[in-house]
Symmetry: none
């Protein structure tokens, strides 16, 4: 039995509220063996107070050694097995620009390229055009019509854009048309099954019409397409947990991931403080609140250890404002680790705390990687975090008599 | 490969004895953050001595956040995946009154109700009759015959009784006949498949005959039936582990759960001391002994923290008597936690110790929740405990060459 069916069977109504605060890329590494991580270096009196009366541990996003992207990292935290639910690249790209992908959509990543007189690829990135040139070329692509479907074209940046095909019975088992080489023709799209052949046929029409439409766009003279992906079949958060959920995220990708599972997407402005203000405003309207904080990840990706420390301290500073709302369950975690030392996402387990009345408190009084290793949650799968959230919220009945 | 097949493949004979002492609902919570649990408060010199020379950890009964009933809790300890083996309500009710359900049985929970002149339900619980009135009505129901099957009717208490239908080819996909409302007729039983239609037909005959049979029973004038459940298809303990197993439990439910997996059910009287006396008496006759102690759970359910502490201390007092028998493997655990603070079963992991010659001893010298967090078994699934028991008993060979 999968955990979603189990939750549907056991869940009980309760007038309780859960806050899931995700500090993206929270976990880190010491720069030298025996040194301190970013979280161990940061002064975090408020998180420490929270963990003192709560319970903590280390969350494994997917499996030991597996480094997740943002998609699998968040799906795991939302309780969707990231090895079962795979979100295609086209869908992630569309989510990343806040395009509202829907159930009938196939989303595709596009690159502008330069074609020579014989139609062969001369530059796979069309000389990396400015965002302005990108927008101009996208406007041309938007004039293209293909019978039987709706087409959407959205700029990303430089040579990158997104195409969404909306229609009935479309498949996504379609090859990339980018041959990953110059001096050769773009590949024809082919579909592996009837539904994907339908998509491939539409794609080939679109690509041919694109060459026409881009005639006056200089180095931008053709397109390649890749990462064909249907909107995934995924049960909504409300269907699984019976929770009315709001996403309070600044960046489009995380709004998009929350939209995938059917959360309401709020517009909290651009700062952590405006996110917390939004939380206060909608506190009565929802059962579950997903707050996303980006800068622990981006500073880690930059390899900027002191900046990541500072961003952790900024996060710590807003904790009391959230506590004042008296959430029944307050969870602080990350979707993965992003050690400054590695300048990238990593597989290392993620410090996680749960604060709730029903916690079996442990000896831990500091919130960081070393301390969480001694925490009462032990090392656990991110996938199980929502079960614990539901249990502490009094929203799960007994399994069996 | 499931663990049962693995055990069947690897198991080896050995002249060793395993004691599994289950303190029901053993795990607890501190009343205040940072305080002590019931087990941490109790003085347990004998359990502490046992854990000092053994190894300990925390057992997760089902999954993090999932609170098990007694059925799933014990199945896990016996090494049967509680998410795979589900014991229906009717079967659990029959086990709870110590009815020896068998492979051809469908067990059903019954309620006496009051019907009005038109046959509609006037009182779903027939005015909550005394146990004496219940027994009198049950005696009437026992006169009912339905061709082709054997019928058993057993009193539970007040308005509740159990019906067991014994026969060939009976299904249990049958709806409850209780409409959960008054002023309406009881529902007809219907079966979802051929076998269940056969059961439904028998049930409808039984219900009609019951109205006749109950004519002189006052407020008890009808019956509703629910929780139809076949005896589960479940491999016996001896088949899986090659262990001759005895259950030494006081309460019917736990005798029943042991009977489900084919253990011999002994009659140890009513006290912990008489249970240990029984253990001594049959020591030579079995390889495996399941001892069940109820009062750590019932005091927890009562929300009586000091009483639970006292019950733990009473359990501790009999430990030396069990040790004198020199079991090769001595396990002390619980089927779930029952924190006095919550007055209910909970999902929190359960302190568990194994004492055996082959233990890799850890630093732990106290048997309780906090200490077990530092134990050598770490946090593990209850489902794997029997593998450890078999290994420490020298009853599992090498897997692969």
């Amino acid at each position: 039995m999968n955990t979603h069916d189990l939750v549907r069977e056991l869940r009980e109504p309760a007038d309780t509220k859960i806050v899931l605060l995700v500090a993206d890329g929270l976990g880190g590494l010491p720069l030298e063996p025996g040194g301190m991580t970013e979280l161990e270096t940061a002064s975090t009196p408020n998180l420490d107070a929270l963990v003192r009366d709560g319970v903590c541990g280390l969350s494994t996003p997917v499996l030991p050694g597996i480094t997740p992207g943002s998609g699998p990292g968040h799906l795991g935290l939302f309780g969707y097995d990231p090895l079962e639910y795979r979100i295609g690249r086209g869908i992630l790209e569309a989510l990343g620009i806040n395009f509202a992908v829907g159930a009938k959509d196939v989303a595709i990543r596009g690159n502008f390229c330069t074609l020579d007189a014989s139609g062969k690829i001369a530059d796979r990135r069309a000389g990396r055009p400015s965002n302005e040139k990108n927008a101009s070329a996208v406007a041309k692509l938007r004039t293209i019509k293909v019978p039987g479907v709706e087409l959407f074209v959205e700029p990303v940046r430089e040579h990158r854009f997104v195409v969404v095909i909306r229609g009935e019975g479309l498949g996504d088992a379609v090859n990339d048309t980018d041959p990953q080489a110059v001096g050769v023709l773009p590949l024809k799209a082919e579909g592996e099954d009837a539904a994907s052949k339908k998509t491939a046929d539409i794609v080939n029409q679109f690509v041919a019409k694109a060459v026409e439409a881009l005639k006056d766009q200089g180095a931008i003279s053709g397109v390649t397409l890749r990462g064909f992906a249907r909107f995934p079949k995924i049960a909504t958060f409300e269907d699984v947990y019976g929770l009315k959920a709001a996403a309070i995220a600044v960046y489009p990708m995380y709004k998009g991931l929350a939209r995938l599972v059917g959360m309401d997407i709020l517009d909290p402005g651009q700062t952590l403080h405006s996110q917390v203000d939004t939380l206060k405003k909608v506190w009565k309207d929802y059962d579950f609140f997903f707050l996303h904080y980006k800068y622990t990840d981006s500073t880690g990706e930059d390899g900027n250890f002191p900046a990541k420390v500072q961003m952790i301290e900024k996060l710590d500073a807003v904790i009391p404002d959230i506590q004042k709302l008296k959430p029944d369950v307050f969870i602080v975690t990350g979707d993965h680790s992003t050690p400054s030392k590695m300048k990238s996402h990593s597989w290392h387990p993620v410090p996680t705390l749960i604060a709730a009345d029903t916690c079996r408190t442990d000896e831990v009084t500091d919130f960081n990687e070393s301390a969480c290793l001694r925490g009462g949650l032990g090392q656990f799968q991110a996938l199980h975090l929502m079960l614990l959230a539901m249990a502490h919220a009094g929203r799960l009945g007994k399994y069996g008599a």
